[in-house]
């Protein structure tokens, strides 16, 4: 018995160096390629977004490698780019683990970002610890400023800026008598929802709009009839909503069931998913969705990227451009620095301008933040039609008639 126990402890202690071995020896010989790591939601509730992000990064890498990679001065030749992913399981605690793995096991040179602000905060914190470049999108500039990160850079629109879009649309694109009178604000109880909600409230003040209904929207709730009844009682004619696709679909279905007629419904996050239009069919028409990007943008590669995406997934996307552009900007920064040394790349992403990306021209400030405008699209027969910012000869916004008259 005694000998067995000692044997057991011996085994336990031995297993530690074995684990040690398992986790080391991953590193590639340096100088042959540029290794870029990216935490991605591959599993968990955010996985749909994560898979788009992954696809877009892969496209960008393939495009650059087709050109032979990026010229690196120290190697005196073009080096190919290799991407490694780590699953962050849609969880803040796991994104930290994913980054630890990318840095320590894969020994990546630079990091591309994951998606959503909830995940970006711990991701940036972790990357900061190891002084690793972390270049991402879909993180709120306001929060990013608070974090005072030295190594991270973000390209996105600001929630405050984006939340002015509906008010500008009303004032510039609608006739005076068509402008909504009773507006409802339905914001998901999440960091993104709060950021947007705050933005809407402050812009409403400056634009002289008061909200007839201002309800937080619990994530994953299945019954919105209380909310709808409230809106009905207050004669709401316009809705600004921020929520996940499933919640948004359910809400619109229940709005139709309750015969609540709203002429202007503008949604963020949940309404741009193709599943939204698939689930609702014709009922999705007239609903307005936001977007990070549009294949109708007059920038290089936009049309082709959109086509590639549609060929592969048989649907359109209003987000992949932002992801593709993020990778694109990082590669341009490496190209400009002629080095994948992290300090050089970081410096190249500060106080710098990158022209001709799929997101247009981007200007990074001294903390590594570049803003691009948010778009607005209207669903029309299963397609998101860009109408804001207005493109010449493009689609015109339509106001929704009553349910019975569609």
């Amino acid at each position: 018995m005694k000998s067995k126990r000692i044997f057991w402890w011996f085994g336990l202690l031995c297993s530690i160096p074995i684990i040690c071995l398992v986790f080391s020896n991953f590193a590639m010989a340096a100088g042959k390629e540029i290794l870029i790591g990216a935490p991605v939601h591959m599993t968990g509730p955010l996985a749909p977004d994560g898979l788009e992000l992954k696809w877009a990064y892969e496209q960008a890498v393939a495009d650059w490698n087709k050109k032979g990679g990026i010229f690196i001065k120290s190697a005196n030749k073009k080096l190919p780019i290799r991407l490694v992913f780590a699953d962050d399981e849609s969880e803040p605690a796991k994104v930290a683990g994913a980054i630890e793995k990318l840095i320590k096991v894969d020994k990546v040179d630079l990091l591309l970002g994951t998606h959503s602000a909830t995940m970006s905060v711990p991701a940036i914190n972790t990357a900061e610890k190891y002084q690793m470049v972390y270049h991402c999108t879909t993180h709120w500039p306001e929060m990013f400023r608070d974090q005072k990160a030295k190594w991270a850079s973000v390209m996105f629109f600001s929630a405050v800026g984006a939340s002015e879009v509906p008010f500008i649309i009303w004032e510039t694109l609608l006739k005076k008598e068509d402008r909504p009178k009773n507006v409802a604000l339905l914001m998901e109880d999440s960091p993104d929802g709060q950021a947007f909600g705050g933005g809407f409230r402050s812009h409403a003040k400056t634009h002289g709009v008061t909200f007839a209904v201002d309800e937080p929207w619990a994530i994953g709730a299945k019954d919105y009839s209380s909310m709808i009844l409230k809106m009905k009682a207050k004669n709401v004619d316009a809705i600004l909503l921020y929520g996940a696709p499933t919640d948004a679909i359910t809400l619109v279905r229940q709005i139709k069931e309750a015969k609540l007629n709203v002429k202007y419904m503008h949604g963020w996050k949940g309404t741009w998913a193709v599943e939204f239009a698939q689930a609702l069919g014709k009922d999705a028409n007239y609903v307005i969705c936001d977007g990070f990007w549009s294949e109708e943008f007059p920038y290089p590669l936009c049309k082709e990227l959109g086509k590639r995406y549609t060929d592969k997934f048989k649907k359109r996307s209003v987000s992949i451009g932002a992801f593709y552009g993020t990778a694109q900007v990082l590669f341009m920064a490496i190209e400009r620095a002629k080095s994948y040394d992290k300090t050089a790349v970081r410096d190249a992403l500060r106080n710098a301008e990158y022209k001709g990306t799929v997101m247009g021209d981007l200007k990074f400030d001294e903390i590594g933040l570049a803003l691009f405008p948010s778009t607005a699209n209207q669903w029309w027969d299963g397609k998101q039609m860009l109408f804001y910012p207005p493109v010449k000869g493009g689609y015109q916004l339509k106001l929704a008639p009553e349910w019975g008259k569609r």
């Binding site: 599993t43 968990g44 509730p45 996985a47 749909p48 898979l51 109880d189 309800e215 937080p216 929207w217 619990a218 994953g220 709730a221 299945k222 019954d223 919105y224 009839s225 209380s226 909310m227 009844l229 409230k230 009682a233 207050k234 696709p245 499933t246 679909i249 359910t250 619109v252 279905r253 229940q254 139709k256 069931e257 309750a258 015969k259 998913a273 599943e275 698939q278 689930a279 609702l280 069919g281 009922d283």
Partner: protein, 297 residues
């Protein structure tokens, strides 16, 4: 503050709560049967409901079978699956004294089903869109959602069916006896495995019904189910563990509670209210609201 309150609005609120709550109720009945005979908290209930919703989605998109016509197919498939789950996973574990084991098997099953679904159908939300989706029936100025009304009808019919089965058939009586006193049931010669298999088959069969009701009403994704497991558990505790009718009523109470609290307080607090009431019930009437007090033994 509530100057816009009218009788019609309150009535609508009330009906919505009931229709909504039957969904919880359906899930809770299955839980209650399984809990009654085996004392298992079957946490993967919600995941199985979503699995059934996906099956319904498949039948609809691949074979163009109307969701309501697929009830017999899915109900039967779910019952077979339930019996299979019991025989394959719980038969061994049910004998063990440690209840953590069955709880953990259920958790493992939940992980497994959720992620299998994510691989098979991608994590993107799916939904069934038919002619009657988002249509409503006007009744005296109120709008009653057709799909939810159908869900309610299915819940009522299946509750009645299960109740009849438990009361009228020999096997059903055995299940009832076993849920009252497993030892006594064994003494009168009821094979516990047989009873457990039946309970699981019916419990998961109800998941099939709930899955159909869910898929016609809501969009769903692989991770949508867990909240259903939680809410069904609360409904169960409200109605009293191990009572079929109580479980349904518990679900309805929970649904009404949530719909009222989200109207009068705020949508964000509805969950806190339902969990709060749940805790209060646990503290002051742990045997459930609908069960007459019995002396503690």
């Amino acid at each position: 503050m509530f100057d816009y309150l009218t009788f019609g609005l309150l009535a609508q609120l009330f009906i919505n709560g009931i229709l909504f709550g039957t969904m919880y109720g359906l899930a809770a009945i299955g839980l209650s049967l399984i809990f009654g005979t085996m004392r298992i908290i079957f946490l993967s209930q919600g995941a199985v409901i979503i699995l059934m919703a996906y099956c319904c989605y498949w039948l609809f998109t691949l074979f163009k079978i109307d969701p309501y016509l697929s009830i017999p197919i899915i109900g039967l498939a779910a019952m077979v699956l339930g019996a299979g789950i019991y025989q394959g996973l719980f038969r061994r574990a049910v004998k063990m004294e440690d209840k953590n084991i069955t709880l953990l098997i259920a958790v493992g099953l939940m992980f497994l089903i959720e992620n299998l679904m994510a691989v098979m159908w991608t994590p993107n939300p799916r939904s069934i869109s038919t002619g009657y989706t988002s249509s409503s029936i006007p009744v005296g100025g109120l709008a009653i959602s057709f799909t939810r009304l159908m869900g309610f009808v299915m819940a009522m019919l299946s509750t009645a069916g299960v109740t009849l089965f438990l009361k009228r058939t020999l096997v059903g009586k055995a299940v009832r006896a076993a849920s009252e006193d497993i030892e006594a049931a064994r003494l009168v010669g009821i094979s516990p495995h047989w009873v457990n298999t039946i309970a699981f088959a019916i419990g998961i069969g109800l998941c099939g019904i709930a899955g159909i009701a869910l898929s016609t009403t809501y969009p769903f994704d692989p991770y949508f189910g867990f909240i259903f497991s939680l809410k069904a558990m609360i409904a169960l505790a409200l109605g009293g563990l191990g009572s079929v009718f109580g479980a349904l009523l518990g679900g309805i109470i929970l649904g009404t509670l949530e719909s009222w609290s989200s109207f009068f307080i705020s949508g964000g607090w509805a969950d806190a209210v339902s969990y709060g009431v749940f805790l209060l019930v646990l503290l002051f009437k742990p045997e459930g609201l609908l069960v007459r007090s019995v002396k503690k033994v």
